[in-house]
């Protein structure tokens, strides 16, 4: 097992607990704007966890892309459709929906319990001890991610650009007004 300092462990658990509390608050809020804000809190806590897991560049992308770009789109749509105020009737499903959700949650949590009891081989390194630390020292936080991205996964990277192009075209066509499509 690795040895982590008390300072490290305290902050790891702290951000983890804040993330869980914010996620539960997010799911139970009625107002979409409040829910979106709590989801942003969860994403910031996850960014902090990424920093502690030696993924500084991913943490920066998490803040810029998720908490920045994607949540801004969500808030923009909420504002555009004028849904900011909570509706009078709750939108949470009735007894059967809650029972189903609780059942699924219990099954998944039991699965987690079984997995942790069988023991995760946390001491087994496939790539050698402190591999990420060496990579970070050698290439820097960005270079360590960029090297495999542009070498081993370059085809997937190119295909991603096609995906983005299709998504942009789809969003433009879907968002177009009906009258202009008659041209």
């Amino acid at each position: 097992m690795d040895n982590y300092g008390l300072f490290y462990q305290f902050h790891f658990y702290l951000f983890g607990i804040i993330a869980i509390v914010a996620a539960v608050t997010f799911v139970t809020r009625r107002s979409p704007v409040a829910a979106a804000m709590w989801l942003v809190v969860t994403m910031f806590c996850l960014a902090a966890e990424y920093v502690m897991l030696d993924a500084q560049f991913i943490a920066a992308m998490q803040v810029l892309l998720y908490a920045g770009a994607i949540m801004v789109i969500f808030l923009f749509v909420i504002m555009l459709l004028n849904l900011g105020e909570a509706s009078d009737v709750t939108d949470i499903r009735g007894v059967w929906g809650k029972l189903l959700a609780g059942f699924v949650g219990l099954v998944l949590l039991a699965e987690v319990g079984i997995l942790t009891r069988t023991g995760i081989p946390s001491g087994q390194y496939v790539v050698g001890r402190d591999y990420l630390g060496q990579q970070l020292a050698k290439y820097g936080a960005v270079g360590a991610v960029a090297r495999p991205l542009y070498r081993d996964y370059s085809l997937a990277f190119e295909l991603t650009s096609v995906l983005l192009l299709v998504a942009i075209a789809g969003a433009v066509i879907l968002g177009r007004k009906e009258s202009s499509s008659a041209r």
Binding site: F12, L46, V77, R93, K98, V104, V126, E178
Partner: protein
Amino acid sequence: MLAESLGLSAILFVIGVIGVLTRRNAIIIFMCVELMLNAVNLTFVALSRYYGMGGQVFVLFVMTVAAAEAAVGLAIIISIFRHKQTVDLRNINVLKG
């Protein structure tokens, strides 16, 4: 910290699933899907310490797909809103038999 990370990721994923199953607001369901994607990203990052850099590269791909999905999905929600004047799934049931 691998076990703790995987546990946190599983709990966040379960919260996302419960949100998808219990809410009826289409935008909030979409945000729950984003939460599930985030939970999976945490798994990738935690395991990348043991299995090499590939995990972090995949997180970048997941983020790209999430951004594309958000753009298309929200465009669909906007066009549904134009027809029905609501995003409540109780009122969007034209495919129900």
